[in-house]
Amino acid sequence: MFLVPPRALVLVLFFLLGFARGQDPVRLTLMVGMTPQELASFRPALDELDAAHPEFVVDLEPVPQASFAERANARLAAGTLPDVVRIEGLAAQRWIRRGAFLPMSHLDGFADTDLDDFYPGVLTPFRWDDALWALPDTASPDLLFYNRAMFDAAGIAYPNGTWTFEDMRDAAVLLTRDAAGNTPRDAGFDPTRIVQWGWNGSLTHFWQRHLVQAFGADWCADALCTTFSATDPGVVRAARWWADLVQVDHAGLYDPYSGAQTGVPGDRFLAGAAAMGYNGFFAVGQLNDFGTIDYDVAPPLLGAGGLRHTPLSTNGYAIAATSRHPQEAMALVAALTAPTFLAETWGRPGHAVPARRSAAGSVIDRSRPPTDQDAILTAMEVGEVFHPFTPGAFEAYGLTAGLFAKMMRGDLPLEEALAEIERVLNDTLADDRVP
């Protein structure tokens, strides 16, 4: 009888155990902050993706959007940030610059990524120090939304791709109504009792660079917009145009969100109290869910030089610097941003627009509003992420939002307000400036 020496048997067992262990899939944690509706379609899609990739198993860690910063900071402090984190573009730089993530473009698995397929605007907030730190999956560009019923009632033609800001202003005045049904051009018009606004907003915060660019000016004095020149004559002229829309025409709002001006909290267009205004693509889903507002969209308005400017918000996947499996995490990110996954997960339900050109078309669904869905893709092409997006941006917003409201309301002389805005922003964003 042939007997196996015990030592050889042990070696074989060790080999088999080692081999078996080597085949074990890597366990990756993925943290996302999504709405319940987004999660409803994302979770099953992720399960399918997980099943198709035997090299890893994904533990999904969904976090309510309102608690995302708290959870992420707590995990950062504990050194247990999940392997992959889905992060908002506006919040990304604060984490990237502090070393929370790995420079994704330096990882082996990144080489196959076709960056040209991504819309140019969506990559910007994830770039730093000659590296890309996250790959975007979706974006939500601002479009011109309008209430068709209000236009019909006023007998005004709907906005289209040829509309300029002056066209908008003319229509906004005719669409504004006080409680007695008068427009600002009628003799008995009462500006203190407006119930329907022609334009949902004005120049109300520093992320509205596009509303200044529309007049051929720019208050961003450097590429990252960490230096402001709000006192530039072109900026002053643009701000005056918007202030006149509010104070002279009574057709725009100085406080589009707080409700102080109208008593309608939140978004006036979504509340049926404004005839038109810019809003993110995500509002399409909300309006379709409500089903109570007869709306449509148009491309962003034509500005100076026939150019369109519009902001967009975006989300992307980053890999934690503390991840023990960066290559597998990169494979997961690549799968989550693959055109097919984006088209089927994000395009189909229409929550957001896939960040890649090859997948963005999936968002078009002619069976549901809006009618002009090509406007969505037009906005994606020209959309730029909100500037500035550097670490101090939120604090800068908090410190200047009140100044903008006072400026548009006329409580502060326009030039004085702009000078103060410039001073506060340049102080607050000083640490964000690249030396």
Binding site: A69, E70, N73, L76, A77, G79, L81, R94, R98, G99, A100, D255, S258, G259, A260, T262, G263, V264, P265, A321, T322, P391, G392, F394, E395, G398, L399, A401, G402, A405, K406
Partner: protein, 315 residues
């Protein structure tokens, strides 16, 4: 009987000059005392005392997560003086406390006086008044946001019925804080319950004596109830001020500190610095400043009111 003797012996010892040795029963009770407070003590050390010390340490550091904290001395505290929003949030917090605490005590006391009398349905009424104190703060805040919606809300509809053009409530810079104070009164049931318990302890013979002396309801309240309720009022005053200075949920859920910082309170500003701006060291300095301010305020309350408190049997 044995227990009583033991207790007397145990508590009397330090005063009788016989040393600090406890009797066996008292020692047994002492052991139980320590055993029973161990869970609380552990909770305090690990979940309150420890974090408190950590916050104080953090306030002297710049901590841009995930990088390690860097000692910056008193830089964060010096920055408080330059920060206009710190001053604004402190004033707002004082405004909120000054509005809510006296009115909360007054309403709580008034409700207790009304619901103290044994009448039909009084238990149900007490339950209804106390109920908001055990409901979710977030849910309540959202409910009130609808009530105070300037255009569609119940409050303005009711006012419109009597010909009053209602204000903008939470959406008006002038009205936002008064509205939050009004919402704060919704939780006044706790004050009422404490006052009710205190009213039960007022000896009825004092009322009878006052009545025999010809005192009416107001004088009986002024000269009997009110002095005897002063320890409870003092206690509630301190606890309510502490609570008011920690107001967070309604400002976070309903206004986010707006409009135009009109409802930006210190706890909310602290939260924004930590979790929105990622400035943990500065947020810790704000927390220490808040702690110091509340500590000084409590001390001032003790100094101002302690001698005016009337304890039954104190002469």
């Amino acid at each position: 009987m044995t227990t009583k003797t033991g207790t007397q012996r145990g508590t009397a010892a330090p005063h009788s000059g016989q040393g600090s040795r406890l009797g066996p029963v008292a020692r047994g009770r002492e052991r139980w005392f320590y055993l029973l407070i161990v869970p609380w003590l552990l909770g305090f050390v690990f979940f309150q005392g420890g974090p408190l010390l950590a916050v104080v340490a953090m306030s002297f550091a710049d901590w841009p997560l995930p990088q390690p904290p860097r000692f910056v001395g008193i830089e964060n505290f010096a920055a408080l003086g330059q920060d206009p929003l710190f001053g604004r949030s402190l004033v707002n917090t004082i405004y909120y406390s000054a509005g809510l605490v006296p009115s909360g005590l007054a309403v709580g006391l008034a409700l207790a006086l009304v619901l103290h009398e044994p009448r039909r349905g009084v238990r149900l009424a007490r339950t209804i008044v106390f109920l908001p104190a055990v409901l979710s703060g977030v849910a309540m805040a959202l409910l009130w946001s609808w009530v105070f919606n300037p255009r569609f809300g119940l409050a303005n509809r009711l006012l419109a019925m009597v010909g009053i053009d209602g204000p903008g409530w939470l959406h008006s810079e002038a009205w936002a804080m008064p509205t939050l104070i009004l919402l704060g009164l919704w939780g006044v049931g706790v004050n009422m319950v404490v006052y009710l318990a205190a009213l039960e302890t007022v000896p009825t013979e004092l009322y009878e004596a006052a009545r025999l002396d010809g005192a009416g309801p107001w004088r009986r309240f002024r000269h009997v109830s009110w002095p005897l309720l002063s320890p409870v009022t003092f206690y509630l005053g301190i606890v309510n001020v502490l609570g008011a200075f920690q107001v967070f949920t309604p400002t976070y859920v309903l206004t986010g500190g707006g409009p135009n910082h009109a409802t930006l309170t210190l706890p909310l500003y602290l939260y924004q610095n930590a979790f929105t701006y990622g400035r943990f060291g500065y947020a810790a300095a704000l927390a220490v400043a808040l702690l110091a301010f509340v500590g000084l305020l409590t001390l001032a309350q003790f100094r101002a009111f302690e001698r005016r408190i009337f304890y039954l049997g104190s002469g």
